[in-house]
């Protein structure tokens, strides 16, 4: 267990402030804070940095998502930074996510005692991240129409769309590349091509697993649970309920808005931890706290926010929380691109090499049909 942990915030008027420390007897000075801050300013990505300052071994975590904040851990002499990296980054990530929610909503001591951490993004979260960067979502829309496009052409298109010459295609493309939705390859000597190899679909699914499980374990609430879920997905007429498969043309339609909401919740790591803990079955706050290692006060707050988004639901008498809807983002083979590729090839918009490479990439991603 590290010797101490402290949280530092940089503001333009107050400079570097230690907002929380554990234990409270930890003594720090301006020089230590400044040197840690300097290291983090050199590279503004999410990162964990090791420093030795005034005989203290310090691991500090910062993230571009939470500018100005650092979570710093003082290691004991016998502790090895390399072995602790994963946990230090995980707890730093969690503490910053909680601060973003409400800096006064959690106790540093409780987080440290529980050993709570936030892991790296799952596949599902990487897909969801696409919708969090507006220019990435725009690019995906464009690729759904074009299938294959020259990177240079796509870059010009994006600049026109966002009316900004400084927009960086690589940055906008990063969530799409990291989640494997597009592949970017240099074909020939100069032509960098972008291929759409996966499409994605975000929706709410009924919490079937959770309902089946509750039928076995607490049959007394199963009926009530099914009633809640039915009311959301297929209420009695004239209410329409929720059907994400209906085709939507209106860009302001509630279904598209909801898809963004789903993506946001899946990508927000602390909400995601609560959500995944409930996918199996309804649980009490104490059980969720045990499963996620989040303090109960934090779990309660997150559940209320998920309830407002119609994701979680509370069984008041039993004091249990379950999923009302189960947000999902899934990838699928963009079959609709086959005629697009064929048309582009016949109209000589792309060469046969490019068309062949696109098909190869689709096969590599999705396997050969039997």
């Amino acid at each position: 267990m590290p010797k101490a942990t402290f949280i530092v915030q940089y503001t333009e008027f107050h400079g570097l402030i230690v907002t929380q420390r554990y234990p409270t007897s930890l003594s720090l000075n301006e020089k230590i804070l400044n040197l840690i801050f300097l290291e983090h300013q050199k590279d503004k990505k999410e990162e964990l940095i090791y420093s030795e300052i005034e005989g203290m071994k310090i691991g500090s975590y910062s993230s571009a998502l939470y500018p100005g904040w650092m979570v710093c851990t003082v290691l004991s002499a016998e502790e090895d930074f390399d072995h602790l990296q994963r946990d230090l980054a995980g707890s730093g990530r969690l503490i910053l996510a909680l601060i973003a929610m409400d800096p006064e909503s959690f106790s540093l001591e409780e987080i440290l005692e529980k050993g709570s951490i936030l892991k790296d993004l799952t596949e599902e979260q990487k897909l969801a991240e696409v919708f969090l960067t507006p220019s990435s979502a725009l690019l995906l829309e464009r690729m759904q129409t074009e299938g294959i496009e020259k990177a240079a052409k796509l870059s010009i298109w994006l600049r026109n769309q966002v009316q900004n010459d400084d927009v960086d295609l690589r940055e906008a493309m990063a969530p799409l590349m990291e989640s494997g939705i597009v592949a970017v390859e240099l074909l020939g000597k100069t032509s960098e091509m972008v291929f759409l190899v996966k499409d994605i679909f975000g929706y709410r699914e009924p919490p079937v697993d959770s309902i089946l499980k509750i039928k076995e374990t607490i049959p007394s609430i199963a009926e009530k649970y099914i009633e809640f879920v039915t009311e959301f997905f297929s209420p009695a007429s004239p209410d329409k309920g929720y059907n994400p498969t209906l085709p939507v043309d209106d860009p302001n339609s509630p279904i598209l808005e909801d898809r963004e909401k789903i993506a946001r919740i899946l990508a927000e790591r602390i909400h995601y931890r609560i959500l995944t803990s409930l996918r199996e079955q309804p649980l009490s706050i104490a059980d969720i706290s045990l499963k996620t290692s989040f303090p109960e006060s934090v779990v309660r707050k997150l559940l209320y926010s998920l309830e407002a988004e119609k994701i979680a639901i509370r069984f008041e008498e039993e004091d249990l929380w379950g999923l009302l809807t189960n947000p999902r983002i899934e990838s699928f083979l963009p079959e609709y691109l086959l005629p697009v590729i064929s048309k582009k090839l016949s109209e000589k918009e792309i060469s046969s090499d490019v068309a062949r490479r696109h098909l190869e990439l689709l096969i590599q991603t999705w396997g050969v049909a039997k």
Partner: protein
Amino acid sequence: MIRGVFVLGEQGNMIYSKEYAKGDSKANMVEFLVNLTHFLKTIDLEDKTEYMNVNISRIFYSKKDPFTFMFVADKADDANQIEEKMGELVDSFMREYANLALANQSLDGFDAKVDEIAVTMVKVAILGFAGVGKTTTLHLLRGETLPLVHDPTIGVSIKKLPEEISNANIVLWDLAGQSRFSILWAKMIANAQVVIIVTDSTLENVLRSKKLVSLVKDEVPDAKVIGIANKQDLPTALTPERVGQILSIPTYELVAIDISYRDRLIQIIRRAILEGKAEAKAA
């Protein structure tokens, strides 16, 4: 630091707004404040000031029918002090400007009153290359005894001026001059109302310091920039006029180790703050 002051009418209409520093996106903030005003109509604050955290800021709000008053401040600010300021603002507005606002007339004089109440802190950044006497200037301004050994600043040293200027605390940011800290300069001069560029008055240092003037003009175009021709007691020193010509900013002589310069320097900073305020008002 109060970043913004807003007074809204019964329908959520903006009667008065002033921003002292960049914060969250203004359009989003205004939309949020208007929605908050509508919400506040449904509750009774009992003449109290309450606050809530929103993104990087803390919003303080108070109601006096039919007006809603809001301050956007930092989370690190002293809540009691801001609440006191809110009380002063509400009293002053209700006493002298409420009838004008209700009659849709201009609120002459209210802007100066808001400045008097809301400007609680002025950031003054001291910038310059290593060894030119920035920290000595800071000690001089604070009336402190000079240390016998030179101890280079690490990152930034933030200290308050003992005197207030126009009822505001003057916070001095003494930025480390060593080149390894240069990546911090642009970030740390953000939202400074006055930037003092200290030189040691040698030709080489003054020529190098021209870069700092450009940096300041790019990063904080609204700040008042002052040049300091320090170490005037040395034989190699260029005159303050010559330093000022090279830097193209108003420049003043200084011997930071000589306490007799203290009052003059404080007067220079006071003038810069007041001129900055006057320019902001004219703009």
